[in-house]
């Protein structure tokens, strides 16, 4: 039996087959609703890619470059000022990641890049255990880029570097333990390698994949590609709520736990969410045509209002989630954000239901 590999993966050969029966039967007929909307999926996909996605990845790569560069010279003379400067570089790089964290398709899913950048949530403390084990080896060979890329995901990314740079004893520990500082350098370089790798793959490879989505390559169709962008917005709203807000708030204020926040050591969890939501709004709106155009026009005002309300409440919320949740007023501010995220998700979900686009069935609730 002759077999054909059609894996739609970056490093494997692909065959592009036009389903011959469809040529005869017209089985790719769009449904009446889609015809009514007259959406041209490929121009939309490319507009989002060129105006929003690739620029966001390029900003991410541009933010990790100074981190890697400055970390390279950091260990020679560590003091409070140089640590503060590197912490700033780290914050900027982490912000860059927050601007693309919602994009869970394409090159970010290759080579475990997504988990290597950020292994989180980490309910079992795996990252801390793996980082301690790495530091205990003090083996310089492990920190060479090729070897480091093969290490546990828990030591490779932002959470591990946050731990190294933002612990109470970071300054003294980094001054006294050369290997710890070399690990800072290795993670910083690794983050930059991955960020520039993802940006380059989007520019040089995956944009072409998106442009040719209707030829049955990686995607089944151009509409299939659009669904990935739409999922990036809709499902991320729920993910922010369920991973970044609700676990911190708990069932009531007494059950609130700052350490469940995404970036509690540096206390920038709120800034992260502001960046996340701004990125979602950008993916939804900031291209011509825009993703919002796939929904029914009548549904858009409420969705845009929900985005604006959420962004306003996030802007008004205290910058420090760690301290805010210890006060009734601060806790209430994030309960409001929780409710806003919920409202936005419900509106988006209802909006998607008003189209023929479907985000998933077996993939969301299988057995």
């Amino acid at each position: 039996m002759r077999m054909i590999i059609d894996s739609r993966l970056p490093s494997m050969t692909r065959s592009r087959l036009i389903p011959t029966l469809c040529l005869l039967t017209g089985c790719l007929v769009a449904s009446p609703l889609l015809q009514a909307q007259n959406t041209d999926w490929t121009p939309l996909n490319l507009a989002m890619t060129d105006a929003v996605v690739i620029p966001a990845y390029e900003r991410f790569a541009a933010a990790t470059a100074p981190l890697a560069r400055n970390a390279a010279g950091f260990c020679a003379a560590i003091d409070a000022d140089s640590l503060a400067a590197l912490q700033q570089d780290f914050s900027a790089a982490y912000d860059g990641w927050q601007g693309v964290q919602h994009i869970q398709f394409g090159p970010i899913t290759w080579f475990n890049w997504n988990f290597r950048l950020q292994f989180w949530p980490d309910d079992k403390g795996t990252g801390a255990r793996q980082l301690d084990a790495l530091l205990a080896t003090a083996d310089p060979a492990v920190l060479v880029p090729e070897a480091f890329a093969q290490q546990s995901v828990g030591v490779q990314g932002f959470p591990a570097l946050e731990r190294l740079l933002f612990s109470d004893d970071s300054l003294v520990a980094l001054q006294n333990e050369p290997y710890r500082c070399q690990t800072v350098q290795a993670i910083s370089r690794n983050l930059d390698d991955i960020a520039s790798g993802v940006a380059q793959r989007w520019r040089d490879e995956f944009r072409t994949t998106v442009a040719n989505a209707d030829e049955r390559g990686f995607f089944e169709s151009a509409e299939d590609a659009t669904i990935d962008y739409l999922k990036a917005v809709v499902e991320s709203v729920r993910r922010i709520q369920q991973q970044k807000v609700q676990p911190v708030l708990g069932d009531n204020q007494a059950a609130a736990r700052e350490r469940r926040a995404e970036a509690w050591r540096m206390d920038r969890s709120v800034q992260h969410m502001r960046t996340n939501v701004a990125a979602l709004a950008a993916l939804f709106n900031d291209s011509a045509p825009a993703l919002s155009s796939v929904l029914q026009p009548a549904d858009l005002p409420n969705i845009q209002q929900a985005f604006a309300t959420l962004q306003q409440h996030l802007a008004d919320a205290p910058d420090s989630m760690n301290t805010a949740i210890t006060t009734a007023e601060g806790y209430a501010a994030f309960k409001q954000v929780d409710a806003d995220l919920d409202a936005l998700f419900e509106l988006l979900e209802a909006g998607v239901k008003g189209t023929d686009l479907y985000l998933g069935f077996n993939s969301l609730d299988g057995d």
Binding site: R2, D6, P10, P19, N112, F219, G360, F361
Partner: protein, 384 residues
């Protein structure tokens, strides 16, 4: 009796084949293929059991039977002219209906402390029907049950009588199938403990012990059991298929960390160790740790594993243990062998056939327009 395999026993992946596609224009056969059955839902959360035929190009609905809850697998007793649609976890209904028309015969409920897992199978002589069940108030390892039902009547008189209640020798039994010799049931004990009062939450993530278990259908005796290596204990063995020569293939769903590289497919022959299979390193992470259904091709050698979370449809060679074909198919889940290769269904509403010879895919005209979300699984309406 429980045996383990280790990483060294992963089968090596051979070089992947590639051949150019022949662009042969095909036309649908005038005669429609045999009846296929599948559960389906609507976006309004209504549930149906749909019977259909296809001619290689077009989808021909035969019947659409409303179900009281979400369906899953369908067991067919063609000689007696009826089928049983088994409710999906944690459903409690068996729906008996006439095979030719989909006309409801009767509904049978599980006892109050039980629910089904969406799977059932008839004995070859059609005298017995077997279900996997959860005795959910039992917190011991005996909560997984294998229940034998006596079949009586035919057509609109067909019914089932609960007779034997045996352990499945594991927690969370899921798919079960009859081995070719006719007296052995192969059961996928998924290892996952759930309780209806906790929705579908996994209550034993840290202590899961999935297994492939062979049981004598005549007396419920344990014949053989194969577990997974400790590092893969969170690979829930959910679905299986068996070839005419007795090779069993397993489809698994990993409940551990998303970044880990774990086998999602395995093969087994009685008395041997499990062979755990991995896709090539570029593809394996794309499968998103989840196989939805697994079915042999007509040749009894190749098999398909659907990956709805990774949007990949994969074809493997059970003899070499290698992945030989993968294609993008968003939300694909149900699968069954066809003359040309496989028919698969998706939660996006499409039903399509993959021609293994040419690699071409034909989506059946008329399926998507029904506005149904095709649920796991695709089942044959004719005698095996």
């Amino acid at each position: 009796m429980k045996t383990h395999v280790d990483r060294r026993q992963f089968l090596a992946l051979s070089a992947l084949l590639l051949s150019p596609a022949a662009r042969v224009l095909a036309v649908g056969d005038a005669a429609a293929t045999p009846l296929l059955l599948t559960a389906a839902s609507t976006r309004a959360d209504e549930h149906f059991l749909v019977g259909f035929r296809h001619d290689g190009a077009a989808f021909h609905p035969v019947f659409k039977l409303p179900l009281p809850e979400r369906g899953h697998h369908v067991a067919v007793q063609a000689e007696r002219g009826f089928f049983v649609s088994i409710a999906r976890r944690p459903g409690t209904t068996l729906v008996l209906a006439e095979l030719a028309t989909g006309k409801l015969i009767r509904e049978i409920r599980a006892p109050a402390d039980r629910h089904f897992y969406g799977h059932g199978v008839f004995s070859a002589d059609g005298e017995w029907f077997y279900t996997t069940e959860n005795a959910f108030e039992d917190s011991s390892d005996a909560s997984g049950r294998l229940v034998a039902w006596r079949v009586s009547g035919a057509g609109s008189d067909a019914t089932l009588e609960r007779v034997h209640d045996w352990p499945s020798y594991g927690v969370g039994p899921h798919e079960l199938l009859l081995m070719p010799e006719g007296n052995t049931l192969a059961i996928a004990n998924g290892g996952i403990r759930t309780h209806p009062s906790h929705d579908r939450d996994i209550l034993n993530l840290d202590t899961m012990q999935p297994s492939l278990t062979y049981i004598d259908r005549r007396d419920g005796k344990l014949l053989e059991q194969q577990g997974l290596p400790a590092e893969f204990h969170q690979c829930s063995i959910r679905h299986l298929d068996v070839s005419a020569n007795g090779t069993v293939v397993l489809g698994m769903q990993f409940e551990g960390e998303a970044f880990m590289t774990v086998p999602l497919v395995a093969t087994h022959k009685r008395g041997e160790n499990l062979q755990l299979l991995l896709a090539p390193p570029e593809l394996q992470p794309q499968l998103n740790q989840y196989v939805g259904a697994i079915r042999f091709a007509a040749d009894g050698r190749h098999f398909a594993a659907t990956c709805p979370r990774g949007n990949q449809f994969t074809v493997w060679d059970s003899e070499t243990g290698t992945l030989v074909h993968a294609l993008r198919a968003r939300d694909n889940c149900g699968v069954i062998a066809s003359d040309k290769g496989f028919v698969y269904s998706t939660g996006m509403g499409t039903v399509a056939e993959l021609d293994l010879q040419s690699g071409s895919i034909s989506e059946f005209d008329g399926a998507e327009q029904l506005d149904l979300l095709w649920d796991n699984h695709l089942c044959s309406g004719v005698p095996a």
